[in-house]
């Protein structure tokens, strides 16, 4: 279980440092597989529900969603490089800090729930934070979706390490999953890129009240 949590933490670090969209998508898919395997290690007896949860998880997070994202990536015709607001080296450093913060939080945490493995909980918090970090610091709508997925994975991991049976956290995770689905549909169906010529979220300012010179920002980002 610790090994899987370690792998999860490493994939997060790789996500923070990766500069290719396709690599990032595969990394999230790999995370999905790891998450699917995680419930098997939590309980001693593997029931139908656990297997079902595993299959849903792997099917949704490592096959369906990555496939959708890859499709969105190729159809929107965006450059396949991530354009971060914060550089990759600095992102990894921030990741290390976030990991330390998660360790501190878990250390201070007083819960009535039985923590099955402290490091899994730390990894869960870390994924949660790094998902938030990816959401904030990455420019493209697609990478923000990835960040959101990582955040959701973090919630799932946290839930698993806090309660051995399906808890509120897992329900919450499934709800968030649905939301990601809708978010993806937004990208796919409304074809933001067709309307605005790009999916750079920081340039979605045509409808805003603030008069921003779009020409300038386009020049700056080229």
């Amino acid at each position: 279980m610790n090994s899987i949590a370690t792998l999860l933490a490493i994939t997060c670090m790789l996500l923070l440092g990766s500069s290719r969209l396709l690599v990032s998508i595969r990394m999230v898919a790999f995370q999905g597989i790891l998450l699917g395997l995680l419930p098997l290690f939590v309980t001693d007896h593997i029931g139908v529900a656990a297997v079902l949860l595993m299959l849903t998880n792997i099917g949704l997070k490592s096959i369906l969603l990555p496939w959708l994202l890859t499709k969105a990536l190729f159809e929107s015709g965006t450059r396949r490089e991530i354009e971060p607001f914060i550089g990759f080296g600095a992102s990894i450093l921030a990741g290390v800090l976030l990991l330390a913060v998660s360790g501190y939080i878990v250390n201070r945490l007083q819960t009535t729930a039985q923590i099955s493995s402290p490091f899994t909980l730390i990894a869960g918090f870390f994924m949660f934070f790094s998902g938030l970090f990816l959401l904030i610091t990455r420019r493209k709508a697609l990478t923000q979706t990835l960040g959101f997925l990582v955040l959701e994975n973090g919630v799932f991991t946290t839930g698993l390490s806090l309660g051995s049976e399906f808890s509120v956290f897992v329900e919450l995770g499934i709800l968030l999953d649905v939301f990601v689905g809708i978010f993806l549909m937004g990208i796919m169906l409304f074809h933001i890129d067709r309307e605005f010529d790009h999916i750079d979220a920081d340039r979605f300012n045509e409808l805003s009240d603030l008069a921003v010179d779009v020409g300038d920002s386009e020049e700056a980002s080229e």
Partner: protein, 306 residues
Amino acid sequence: MISLPSILICLAMIVLAPLFPGVINKTKAFFAGRQGPPLLQLYYDIIKMLQKTSVYSETTTVVTRIAPFVILFSTLAAALLVPVAFRNASVSFSGDIILLAYLLGIGRFFMVLAALDTGSAFEGMGAAREVLYSALAEPALFFGLLVLINETSQTSISAIYEKLTVESWWQNPATFLLVAASWMIVLLVENARIPIDDPNTHLELTMIHEVMILDYSGKDLALIEFAGAVKLAIFSSLLVGLVLSGQELALPAQLLVYAAGMLLVSIVVGIVESTIARFRLLHIPKFIVGSGALAIIALILKLSGN
């Protein structure tokens, strides 16, 4: 604490050190389908260069002349602090790994100074890169060490390796694998191997280590090449000690296992060099910081496990 048999074994390691770059080159040649240079090529090179005189540029000062000696002797002193063949190091005391890291640091400092001393713009560039990368690699080494200190509650590298057992690996496999991986990356960084730096390249814009010794010739170059080989042996020894410590073996078996381990590290480096392309310079800091991140994950995993 000074132990005599260890000094002999350590001397043997130092004498055999130029063999390991030969093994790396043979592995690379095997992957490329070539015959490759002979195993003892570095010995031939060193002997040939020792017979020649050094040539100094007119702009250089005394720094360039003393640097090869400082580099060689700081590296040799560092080698005395390394546990060789699973025995206590020749010299060991509490906190000796810090001295080890900074003895190597002194060597690097003088190499950088000498590179700047020549006044060549390219050497300045190489010096800047070397300093940046080694500064980034340092946390990886020390956080890995913190994990080991936490595991064994010892502060001398010999004592740490003495207390490491096969059980400690079984109890925390993930932790130790992470430390070993991050130290492997440190080895690649510190010895200027692919994917960080290419020891064969002589393209001015991308060299790191090679550019700094570009102005050396003859005997000085021989000393620096030898020191480089010893440095590789030091880092390989640390890695072999980390992975294989804890076997209860007689001395001949110990030596054999250790030699096999060292060869294996060289072969792994050769395989890495043959299968991975060199990273773009911009991506290198990311990679090295990543190795530090691995060590920190290992530390947090270790701390949370207790």
